[in-house]
Subunit: 277 residues, 2 copies
């Protein structure tokens, strides 16, 4: 069962017009929200970010927070999985003819929920690989937009290289991963690119910073280079569905001799507590 | 009547799954091809460019040139308009679940044709206005992709300012317009940004260069700045549907004292001959 424009329907019945501006122009925004033990995790933070994305592309939010929560809860409760990943997409709506500019339309609203299996600490502790690439995306990566072709091509590159993520750099500074935020730890200081137009202000990113503080780690929101990664003590990526993942190999070169660091373990444990609050 | 995945159907019956990667990710490419007097204009050039776009994002072209031409001709002949604008979109296809990376899927193919009314020389001779803006798009603007949110926002800005186009600069060099290529004429030399990753290699761009050569104008494919525009003799934009349009005001400041230049007239005339060949 999925939600489309006011109705809960079977997924294979969920269709949209070819004149939907999401289809024609990637003219929409989205959110991915985890639910643990049947409870939506950090709904306010995700719905606040959705509002920012909508504002940035001049779409009026069709629903109140409460209405969103009701829809999300109905999907969560309908599923038999205790942990789920909610996907929510809003496009500008169906146009009468294809033209780049827009008039006020009725937004298209699509929501689905899928089972979410988080990796265990043991699975994560073996470490993961990534590759680096130049950040060719647009300059408004703070908007969680559905114009995602660059991210699709990165994800395919990651698959081809059998790695977890592509870590991006712009002007020699690491921005973020293709579908994650990026952190390095050096001498008990955690570095991550500051929020702004070049990265998505991740909900999990904030929780990583909160968790790291709880582990007595100093936070420094400043950018760093690819070289800094190779001399770092730990490298992590974060996203709502992958949580906090230790990367121990980048471009086939080991980070911290290829071993998962101790601080990651502390941050991971704290994050698990936040999830189960 | 439109074409969707093998069938000619009514436009209001043309629907796709929410799992279409065009809808979820802007994971597709497109072409806009004019037809004059019922004859498709430069079909080979457009289909060659389509092939390049498809290759760039790793979608196998589902049809041969001949098959494409047959579909396009059928739509052109079905319409009562002598001049038409064909729109052709291919997305990676419908996925079973939302994930950034992709497997081989059956592409979604959508084609429609709409009446095209070209502006007359008299209408064009009054000149048009544009505004300039920083180019925030991704770094693969040579791919005619449907991830077009940046272009949508520019088009809306143009509408808000009641101008024809937004002319973009990157690192202080003019790249192109949000939906056009850009040219300046100075001392009988025509300048336009060289092809490459930062601009779309326009079919009409090539025809403008051909037409300018026929008017004894020297061509220089090199980039120029915003300042160069204000000291230029003529400023034009080109696209398949707008052809060659003289811009006489940029950011509310006149170009060539706000008058359409003489060379534009020659190039316009030559282009009309190409259309009717």
């Amino acid at each position: 069962m999925v939600y489309l424009n006011g109705d809960f329907i079977a997924k294979d019945k969920a269709s949209i017009s070819v004149m939907d501006r999401g289809f024609l122009f990637g003219d929409g925004v989205y959110e991915v929200i985890p639910a643990y033990n049947g409870k939506i995790f950090r709904p306010t933070e995700h719905l606040d970010r959705l509002q920012k994305s909508l504002d940035s592309i001049q779409i009026t939010n069709p629903y109140s927070h409460n209405k969103w929560i009701n829809i999300l809860n109905k999907l969560v409760n309908h599923s038999s999985s205790t942990n789920q990943s909610l996907y929510l997409q809003i496009t500008r709506g169906t146009d009468t003819k294809r033209k780049h500019n827009f008039d006020a339309l009725t937004p298209t609203i699509y929501v689905e929920s899928n089972p979410l299996t988080s990796k265990t600490k043991q699975e994560l502790s073996k470490g993961f690989s990534a590759i680096s690439a130049q950040d060719i995306r647009w300059s408004r990566c703070d908007i969680k937009a559905t114009s995602l072709l660059a991210n699709v091509l990165y994800a395919q590159d990651a698959k081809k290289h059998n790695v977890e993520e592509v870590i991006l750099y712009r002007d020699n500074q690491i921005t973020e991963g293709a579908t994650s935020n990026v952190f390095i730890l050096k001498n008990n200081i955690l570095y991550t690119h500051p929020t702004g137009a070049n990265i998505l202000s991740g909900i999990t990113r904030d929780l990583v910073l909160e968790s790291a503080s709880a582990c007595s780690i100093q936070i420094q929101e400043s950018s760093f280079s690819l070289d800094n990664i190779f001399t770092s003590d730990e490298l992590w990526i974060s996203s709502s569905t992958r949580e906090i993942m230790p990367i121990t190999k980048l471009d086939n070169k080991p980070i911290n001799q290829g071993k998962v660091g101790a601080i990651w373990g502390c941050v991971f444990e704290y994050y698990q507590r936040l999830k189960n609050d």
